[in-house]
């Protein structure tokens, strides 16, 4: 796959840039839109201090031609007295045809639907993301964003739709030393544990490129079922782990529609992900390294209740599980239950109140902690 992957990527970039140059003479439209979101949190855990927190994520959209487009999101977050910044995504798009667009740059992972669709705080119905699918809390199993190239589109089939996204990217590395890359931004030491994937590097550690894709069907517009996969070599080039590979499989389901019988809008979403890492039989990676995570979320908004006040409230319930390999140095499994009540002031302005109970279990003990979070979020 190596050479082929590289050549395909180079070819795609060349086509994209050639198309760009071919059209620079005409500039029918050259506009910029700044959108994005901001939020303020108050987090009160059962153990440890309570805290206010704040973040701002501006999104920049720029269109040079009808078929050439650039999108980027920055993240500003206050943490430990400093402002952390991150380039969440920055991607150039070329619309090549009715059902085909090419993108190059850093893009949200199409196989992590939380990252790609629900991470903005005005979209996410709870103040945080599910365990395993984000960098916050526990071990992250599936990447938030990739650096590489992608091709995607939607193909109408009768009254429904088939969508695809395929990509090549640098891909993750594997932690082979204790906290090689340091704890991720969650501050959770588990995030850098031996045998877990390191998504922090933006440069590859070998010549092999990650290959991934997500394919979905929408038999009706209210239902979407998707399957995603990713495969890559993750060991450092020329190290004894050079041949260690990983395969990720995921399935997701999204259902949402107005339901007259319950006078409102019902939204169900969930995803299951499994990550298998090869066992090279060499310490410290000589254990069965198979992890999985899943979540399902149900929310209901009485949008057809007849009362604007009642219709502005929304109830949310989410259940999550994160299962880590038994033989791994960090192997505590987690479950989390979340209940949320949201009050919407506009389609993208919301006040959220959430209660979350997390249970952490390993061979010896079980630990429970609860957190109450208030979040005010605005998308613009």
């Amino acid at each position: 796959m190596n050479r082929f992957a590289m050549s395909a990527a180079v070819l795609m970039l060349t086509i994209t840039s050639t198309a760009a140059f071919a059209q620079t003479g005409v500039s029918p439209r050259n506009t910029v839109l700044v959108s994005g979101f901001g939020y303020a949190n108050y987090i009160d855990p059962s153990e440890g201090p309570s805290n206010f927190a704040v973040g701002l994520n501006p999104v920049f959209l720029w269109q040079a031609q009808n078929d050439l487009f650039f999108e980027a999101e920055l993240e500003f977050e206050l943490e430990d007295g400093v402002t952390n910044t991150a380039l969440e995504y920055a991607q150039a798009w070329w619309v090549a045809g009715n059902s085909l667009t090419f993108g190059a740059g850093k893009f949200l992972n199409p196989t992590n639907i939380f990252a790609e669709r629900y991470h903005p705080t005005w979209i996410n119905k709870l103040p945080n993301g599910p365990l395993g699918f984000t960098a916050h809390g526990g071990v992250q199993l599936t990447n938030t964003a990739h650096t590489g190239v992608q091709a995607r589109g939607g193909i109408p089939i009768a009254s429904g739709k088939f969508t695809y996204a395929v990509f090549l990217a640098n891909g993750p590395a594997i932690h082979t030393e204790v906290l090689k890359a340091g704890p991720a931004k969650s501050g959770d030491p588990a995030a850098g544990a031996v045998g877990t994937l390191d998504f922090n590097g933006t440069e590859d550690n070998n010549d092999n490129k990650l290959v991934g894709g997500r394919f979905a069907v929408l038999p009706w517009s209210s239902l979407e079922i998707g399957y995603g996969f990713e495969a890559a070599k993750i060991g450092d080039m020329d190290s004894e782990f050079a041949d260690v590979g990983t395969t990720t499989n995921s399935v997701d389901l999204i259902f949402n529609r107005d339901v007259n019988a319950i006078r409102g809008h019902l939204d169900i979403r969930g995803q299951y992900v499994n990550v298998a890492v090869d066992n090279p039989g060499i310490a410290p990676l000589d254990f069965d390294n198979n992890s999985s995570a899943w979540y399902s979320q149900l929310s209901y908004r009485p949008s057809k209740s007849g009362s604007p006040l009642v219709a502005s409230f929304e109830g949310v319930f989410r259940y999550e599980e994160l299962d880590l390999p038994e033989g791994a140095p960090v192997n505590a499994d987690m479950t989390r239950l979340s209940f949320g009540l949201n009050r919407w002031f506009s389609p993208s302005t919301v006040f959220k109140l959430a209660y979350q109970k997390k249970t952490t279990r390993d061979e010896v003990e079980e630990d429970e902690d609860t957190v109450v979070t208030c979040q005010f979020a605005m998308g613009f």
Partner: protein
Amino acid sequence: MNRKPMKQVLPTVAVLVVLAILAVTLLAGCAAGPSQVSKSGPQLWGENCARCHNVRPPASLNDAEWDLALMHMRTRAGLTTSETEKVGTFLKAAN
């Protein structure tokens, strides 16, 4: 590469089951209703633009801004060029 077989079997079965559901729902669902390509701008807007987030009213952006927002959204939502154009025409007439 020695892997524990049981842990491998479960995900494989899960994936196969979902693939089977995919195939069946696709066949069953696609057969009913108006064809996707004949759908109008307002219908496509109603069906696609509330899937991930609350619908932003047409008046919330001007024409040039809608063009940009729709370029941003077409790739996320898996819209074709013709669907994007139909939704754009509708939004720009209604804002």
